[in-house]
Subunit: 347 residues, 2 copies
């Protein structure tokens, strides 16, 4: 096992930001990306943290992610904006979507931004949290290339369809649901491959599409709750991709030259709570709801009942205090990214 170092979050974020500036991004764009990645690390979503830096750099070098994208607003109404993200880094597009959705919501109570043609949007909770911090309901969903089996099929047909919903909570701390519609996450699959422990039945298929509990054989994730998980994933494609005329699934299986090129489309929706009631009262009602659920009899004595995002929040507090654990392999990977001569490693 590789040795792990703890790196202070802000130092790590500054370092990653400098890497992306070096790769050609503007300061603001690089900050969006670095902040979103370190946010995921802080929340314990390591698969969407700085472990993605090298993956993004690879995309940049291939032109899959554009460091100097040309925004284009395609449609704009008092409630909706559709913009073409021109293959920018996902966090850049999502930060912009959050900003625009909030503006619309402050205007007419509701805002939807449809993001066309962005790249890996990362951990969506980062963006819904930003809306919740402004007193809004934030909803984000994304469509991507097939990674998950469609129910009844032996092959990947749909994306794992991430969905996040966040609302303002008590103590100024948003409550964030951040989920995908797979029976397990790719991160959990990777962890099982490392540990070698067999998977519960019904979570994954082999590359040949046969059910397997052998983590080394497992390749395609199954949808959560069968047709519900893959149905949601299909619907996210029909909402996020098809409304803006940027099919991913249909193209993926076509012989178009860019068929399998990495790309994503996303929705960011905001509802301005204060427009329809009292925000302070809303927070109190969230607290009251949480209190009754957390006070239900526990299934397993000693295992407290958790609210969405509880683990992430706890992890965030701990890692902010103690630092973000980076394995030797990950440090090596980050140290291997092209960087300005004057930029020191943050560990």
């Amino acid at each position: 096992m590789s040795q792990t170092s703890l790196v202070q979050a802000q130092r790590l974020q500054d370092f990653v930001q400098a890497l992306f500036v070096h790769a050609g991004m503007d300061e603001a764009a690089a900050q969006s990306v670095a902040r979103a990645l370190v946010w995921a690390d802080l929340r314990g979503i390591d698969t969407h943290g700085v472990s993605r830096v090298a993956f993004y750099m690879n995309f940049i070098s291939k032109g899959v992610i554009k460091v100097q994208p040309q925004w284009r607003v395609l449609h704009d109404t008092p409630a909706v904006q559709v913009f073409d993200a021109d293959a920018c880094a996902g966090a850049v597009a999502m930060d912009r979507a959050v900003e625009q959705a909030a503006i619309k919501a402050r205007g007419v109570g509701l805002g939807l931004v449809m993001v066309r043609g962005t790249t890996h949007t990362g951990a969506l909770g980062c963006f819904t949290q930003a809306l919740a911090r402004q007193g809004m309901v934030g909803v984000a969903l994304a469509a991507s290339i097939p990674l998950m089996a469609y129910h009844g099929a032996k092959a990947a047909g749909v994306s794992t369809a991430p969905l996040s919903i966040a609302v303002p909570g008590p103590d100024d701390e948003p409550m964030i649901l951040d989920m995908a519609s797979g029976a397990m996450s790719m991160g959990q699959l990777r962890a099982a491959k490392q540990s070698g422990s067999p998977l519960p039945a019904g979570l994954a298929l082999s590359e040949q599409g046969d059910p397997t509990t052998d983590p080394q054989q497992a390749s395609i994730v199954l949808p959560m709750a069968g047709p519900k998980g893959s149905g949601l994933a299909l619907m996210f494609e029909l909402l996020c991709s098809l409304v803006v005329g940027n099919s991913i699934i249909a193209d993926f299986f076509s012989d178009k030259p860019a068929a399998r090129k990495h790309r994503q489309n996303a929705w960011v929706l905001a509802v301005d709570i204060a427009r329809f009631g009292d925000l302070a009262h809303y927070r109190l009602e969230v607290a009251r709801t949480v209190a009754v659920l957390a006070g239900l009899p526990m299934s397993r004595p000693g295992e407290p009942i958790r609210m969405p995002g509880d683990r992430g929040l706890h992890c965030h507090a701990q890692r902010l205090r103690e630092g973000i654990p980076l394995t030797h392999a990950l440090r090596k990977e980050l140290a291997g990214c092209a960087r300005p001569e004057t930029l020191a490693l943050p560990w």
Copy 2:
């Protein structure tokens, strides 16, 4: 087993409509309710069909459902309407929400109606389908009293949180995802109790909150995919109920006099596709996406890969042709409802 009769859908709908008029509803309201119930029967969702008539009549007699509600628009913006449904029958409120959401969406591309204080909203696909038929994306969700275990708890804490998403499909036939966030539906549980066949593990708890596979012991449904299912259900409460100041879960566990009174809150969202692209092209892209997914290698040879709503659509065609099967018990129940002397039974 009770003998089943096939009853022609329109005759059944007219009969049920007349029952609700007799119970005090206006023609239009009674039609909304009768249409929604028969829609569910046609689609094969028997638990949300005319088997609910007696249940609704009971609610009417207790004043839980008001037959002459006083609408009240609480908030109105170019994109959002919040209205108090004054405990009307759910389908009446939902039909109105569909109408208003569509008006908003035609205006600014997007419409959200937040329905406060309605009653059993029934099969949500009925309402999202109505939006899809108008060329829109339709999304509906509802919050209700606790019926499903919250993940980690031995007791019901959240509702089964229905969600429906519909989009215009090829051949003018909307594609409808209509799901709840439980590991099984109450209807499936009832069927298992009748057949006596053991449940797969992980679907239900006994009244005491212990895991069980005995259908007679099973009482509380578990959430699909554990924390995801109950997290979604909690979020639906925080969205549908708390934004309009009508907590259900928190009140349910309180000592308020009306704490456990049946009520629901709902969201209906519409996006006008033609505003952001070409609707005919959209339909073609849906067809292209469906074609690639349906063409994937099947998990089980001979079991075709289905799209959301496929079974319902097939059932609809068959039952429209052959009639809706009503058991002897259900016919007796319907015949037992108070009705005008001149109203003949439809079988």
